[in-house]
């Protein structure tokens, strides 16, 4: 027996509204991206992607993610381990601090780094004196990316670790395992899906970040542009096919991320 008592017409109407929203706001834009990207055929599509600046932007994006994601992974595991498994003074403060990048607008995040490392900034004169370039160069792009993706892994792991409690670790210790072995043999396997999930989300954000990176990168073509910035530049120059081709790469990344995410979710539900 179905518990639903609504007339069929209302059911269909509600389903229609949901699908219409989904189509209008998700499917249509996505189709649009690929349609525009391929408007002049596959040949032009691949050619625009092989453009020197486009390749440089992709490289930049990948390198940024390759540095930011592992660093955040290490930080995320360590911080969530400390927060979930131990009690210490200032724990709530640390929790709030971890969330800070999520509540700050990415543009502000970018500005913070300008104020810190820019020519007029706090450390600016010192950096100039030592001939170290951070702002309008790759280091700044990487730094702001780390900043905006900072909470993602930790936020994913803290609830998992908290719900699992300490008992398995304590059991391992009474059985003679060292802290190191306990960590690798008991704690990490218990959170491996959470780690993977965190990596996927962190990577998506690192590759897609626009606002903060836009402020600090200086938009130097072939040097400090990431893929999202590259899209913007092309679009502003009315090279819409090229812009959409680059955008399609980001869209593919998003789709891939979603697929990976749902695979992980299924795996977690099966309790593998």
């Amino acid at each position: 027996m179905s518990a639903r008592t609504e007339p069929k017409i209302i059911q269909y109407f509600l389903i229609f509204i949901a699908l219409a929203f989904f189509g209008l706001f998700i499917v249509l834009p996505l189709v649009c991206v690929f349609h525009n990207a391929l408007a002049k055929g596959w040949g032009i599509y691949f050619k625009t992607l092989q453009d020197r600046d486009a390749i440089a932007a992709m490289k930049m994006t990948v390198v940024t993610a390759l540095i930011a994601v592992p660093l955040n992974l290490i930080f995320g595991v360590v911080a969530s381990w400390a927060i979930a498994k131990f009690d210490f003074k200032g724990k709530n403060f640390l929790l709030t601090l971890i969330d800070l990048p999520l509540s700050v607008s990415p543009v502000i995040a970018g500005l913070i780094f300008i104020l810190l490392f820019g020519a007029q900034g706090l450390l600016g004169p010192w950096l100039i004196a030592h001939n170290i370039r951070i702002i309008f160069a790759m280091p700044a792009v990487i730094l702001v990316t780390i900043f905006v993706t900072f909470p993602i892994v930790a936020r994913e792991l803290i609830p998992i670790m908290k719900s699992q409690g300490n008992e398995e670790e304590e059991a391992a210790m009474t059985l003679g395992a060292s802290g190191w072995k306990t960590f690798w043999l008991v704690s990490v396997p218990n959170i491996r899906w959470g780690i993977l999930y965190g990596i996927i989300l962190c990577n998506a954000r690192a590759m897609g970040e626009f606002g903060a990176v836009s402020v600090v990168s200086g938009h130097i073509r072939g040097l400090t542009n990431t893929l999202p910035l590259h899209v913007e530049i092309l679009y502003n120059e009315y090279q819409s096919t090229a812009a959409f081709a680059a955008a399609s790469i980001l869209a593919l990344l998003a789709i891939f991320t979603l697929i990976a995410k749902s695979i992980v979710e299924v795996a977690v539900r099966r309790g593998i």
């Binding site: 059991a171 391992a172 059985l175 003679g176 395992a177 043999l185 491996r192 309790g271």
Partner: protein, 356 residues
Amino acid sequence: MSIEVKNIHKQFGNFQALENLSLKVESGELLALLGPSGSGKTTLLRIVAGLDAVDKGQVLFGDQDAQNQKARERGVGFVFQHYALFRNMTVFDNIAFGLKVQPRHLRPSKVQIREKVMELLNLVQLEWLADRYPWQLSGGQRQRIALARALAVRPKVLLLDEPFGSLDAQVRKELRLWLRRFHDEFHITTLFVTHDQEEALEVADRIVVMNKGRIEQIGTPEEVYHNPANPFVLSFLGNVNLFHCRLAEGKAFIGDTALDVPGLSVDHPKTAKLYVRPNQFKISRGPGKGDALKAVVEYVNPAGTVVKVNLKTENGERIYVEISQDEFNQLRLIKSQQVYVSLKDVTYSEYVQDSI
């Protein structure tokens, strides 16, 4: 190996969990720490295991001070209330864990580990579960696997934290008999925490009754049950009825009724509290030779090995009595029936200072 704790203090924030507590568990003994929640029994167990640190005091294994030994160096087998099996490992790997993490020069070979694990699985009669994961097991099976895992490292002492606390009544009974038999066979010094008095009375060699971070009484099950040191122990170990009375001329005056109190000698009159177990009453249908409390049957429950009877006296006090099925068959008690109650014995009496 014996375990001794000396003058232990432990505080969590403002909460005094253990207060100047000393205790010795003799080698080969099965000792129960019994008390209500918050009495500090689990804290004491965790301190012995090295999972919590003491604020003050000493823990000794044999003659050796364990102060500088970490949990992993103490050689204790700890069984957690919620099993704490490693969820990402099979039953086999769970039991093998303690052997696999040993430093290389001490670690047994793979073949030896396999033999040892199968031997332990055999001991807990669960060989056929070796390849399962913890979530595929029932509560009772998990608990036995947890015990096998703790035994794998040949612990000097076994520490069990509410080992049967989250199991159904039937499984719990089976497992505690199993634990008793296991202990009789291997004689590992065992300290186990429970809030279930029946469990403690049935399994332990000695019972330590705890309350508010202190020890109220230590003794064999028989001692703590029949000769409780104070009203707390008395009421924690089974049901008890309390009477306020005046003792004089060898009798207890409850209201106007003068009850005979066997085994209680009174030289001069005083006010007292009498604690009487449910099985220490005699119920009669008619008034006997001496005085008896007049009461009315409120409720009778003959289901069980004893018959449980709730009575209400003339003064409105309620008494809970247990009588044998034989007695019940002779008395034929029914609800609202008038009966006479006298005392066969008194478990504990406490004198109250007379106010003038």
